[in-house]
């Protein structure tokens, strides 16, 4: 098995693009990644395209072929990937596996989403699911976890608000982020209540956007001359969906993170940065614990003490995370990997973590029986 590397990255700023099509957004990111890798599209031997809601919003399907054709990638296998919020990270997982298995020497990963349309509504876990029919919406799933975490571990609303404040401060250094103006704990807590205890500034905003990665074998990367970043491990897991689920200690999250560390032969103490799925403030607190950045139950105190802030023990979401970068669902998992790659290459500008050698990208998606439908973790090194 050859080790996959990321040889090129590209993305467009996450924002609202009412005048542009989904295909147009994806194609620009793909172009930028190919240009960054300094490769001609004819060298790409497989394409993986991630999108989560295009089929629902626009009735489109097999969008990846449209996007990849725009950048000269054709005649090769193209796979369209939908895996909720992990659509993009799942596409990356598949591309890494294809390269590792020798099925493709070079693969292109593109994640794109256009969702800032009237009447988008709220994300749920599927219109026909019985719990959706009983009023389950994505923010409620996480509010229910927050309530338990507060009760069991004494986590406070101020600590949760600190996650939003920190990620917004990080986003100030990221021109790709949707929201870059600083906010305060007071502003976060005074924002309109969405689902108790989560206010609007504790819920990630929807966005349009696209991101892309060129993944190839180490051998091929050596000939390209671009700064390649090794994929030390990339794993994907699903939930157990057994009842009762512990909402304050997410078994699937812990299990998948542990698998990634084991596969990479690394641990939380080795990490220089983390990009994680902060769809809601409480999510990031839960992920600190699952990732072993702090003991179970200590996530609120971890952010309060500044350990997750740039300059702290393990900066988490230096990009601004979903909370400030915005969450174009299919693009998010790809943008997370891009942030890790940019940091390891030393190309992260004002938010650069000096000397970063090892970074982790964590993503989660979907909801079933109080558990997640998908969790991915990638560990990258240079």
């Amino acid at each position: 098995m050859t080790k996959p590397v990321v040889a090129g990255v590209g993305m467009i700023p996450f924002a609202k693009y009412p005048q542009r099509t989904l295909v147009d957004l994806g194609a620009e990111a793909a172009f930028l990644a190919l240009q960054d890798a300094n490769v001609a599209p004819g060298r790409v031997e497989a394409g993986f395209f991630a999108n989560a809601v295009g089929s629902r919003l626009f009735g489109d399907s097999t969008i990846g072929q449209n996007v990849l054709w725009e950048v000269g990638v054709n005649r090769v296998p193209v796979i369209n990937v939908e895996n909720a919020c992990t659509s993009g990270s799942t596409a990356f997982y598949l591309a890494c596996n294809a390269v590792a298995a020798g099925q493709a020497e070079m693969a292109l990963v593109v994640g794109a989403e256009k969702m800032c349309v009237p009447e988008f509504g709220l994300i749920n876990s599927g219109e026909s699911e019985w719990d959706t029919q009983l009023g389950l919406v994505a923010p409620a799933s996480f509010a229910l976890r927050a309530q338990r975490h507060m009760l069991e571990h004494g986590t406070t609303v101020e600590q949760m608000a600190q996650v939003a404040v920190k990620n917004r401060a990080h986003a100030a250094g990221n021109p790709m982020a949707m929201f870059r103006e600083p906010i305060t704990v007071e502003q976060v807590l005074a924002a309109p209540m969405i689902v108790d205890p989560l206010t609007r500034l504790q819920c990630c905003p929807i966005a349009d956007g696209a991101a892309a990665l060129v993944v190839c074998s180490e051998e091929m990367a050596r000939g390209l001359g671009s700064a390649a970043v090794r994929v030390e491990a990339v794993v994907l897991g699903t939930g157990g969906y057994e009842s009762p689920q512990d909402l304050a200690r997410w078994e699937t999250d812990f299990r998948v993170c542990a698998q990634a560390y084991e596969k990479a032969g690394l641990g939380p103490e080795d990490l220089d940065l983390v990009e994680c799925h902060d769809a809601f403030t409480i999510s990031e607190i839960l992920h600190y614990e699952a990732l072993g950045l702090c003991p179970p139950g200590d996530g609120g105190r971890f952010v309060e003490q500044g350990h997750a802030t740039l300059g702290g023990r393990v900066p988490v979401n230096p990009s601004g995370g979903l909370l400030s970068r915005g969450h174009p669902v299919g693009a998010t998992g790809v943008a997370q990997v891009m942030e890790v790659v940019s940091q390891l290459r030393g190309q992260a500008g004002p938010r650069q973590i000096n000397g970063a050698r090892i970074g982790l990208a964590h993503c989660m998606g979907g909801d079933k029986a109080g558990d997640t439908k998908s969790c991915t973790v990638a560990i990258l090194g240079i």
Partner: protein, 146 residues
């Protein structure tokens, strides 16, 4: 307001997960695998443990709030604004299940409080028609239904 007669004719959404059971009040329609001795809600086609088809098992709707929240944004499905949802630990089966909570109880909800299943007119179905839904309602501390 609906009369009892009108309520009787309203469809229950979602289908097949709860029913009136005479004198004991409504029940949840779950499954039970005698081989694995596991209960399920809702009832799956196959037991994930042994792949045998689980039997239907009517589950008592008495339980305790494990977690709850109040959804304050514009509600889906014609539900009240605000409305409440939660996870309830069912006393008899030990299952922890998601469900609607009585929006009339919003100011009194707390983790650990006792609840009981009810069926009543609540929101709309996918076609915008009024429908019944199962929801959990707080039970008075003495154990009497409020």
């Amino acid at each position: 307001m609906h009369t009892d007669n009108e309520q009787d004719t309203l469809p229950l959404v979602p289908k097949g997960i709860a029913a009136e059971a005479g004198g004991t009040g409504p029940v949840l329609i779950g499954g039970h695998c005698p081989h694995c001795r596991r209960d399920f809600f809702p009832r799956p086609r196959y037991c994930p443990g042994c792949m045998r088809p689980p039997q239907e098992r009517l589950l008592s709707g008495d339980g305790v709030i494990y977690s709850y929240t109040v959804v304050r944004i514009r509600p889906p499905l014609g539900l009240p604004q605000p409305y409440a949802v939660g996870f309830v630990d069912l006393n008899q089966s030990g299952l922890r299940i998601f469900g609607l909570l009585n929006h009339g109880d919003i100011d009194r909800l707390a983790i650990g409080k006792r609840v009981r299943l009810k069926l009543g007119p609540l929101g709309q179905d996918g076609g915008g028609q009024a429908c019944m839904r199962p929801y959990f309602s707080l039970v008075a501390a003495e154990g009497d239904d409020d």
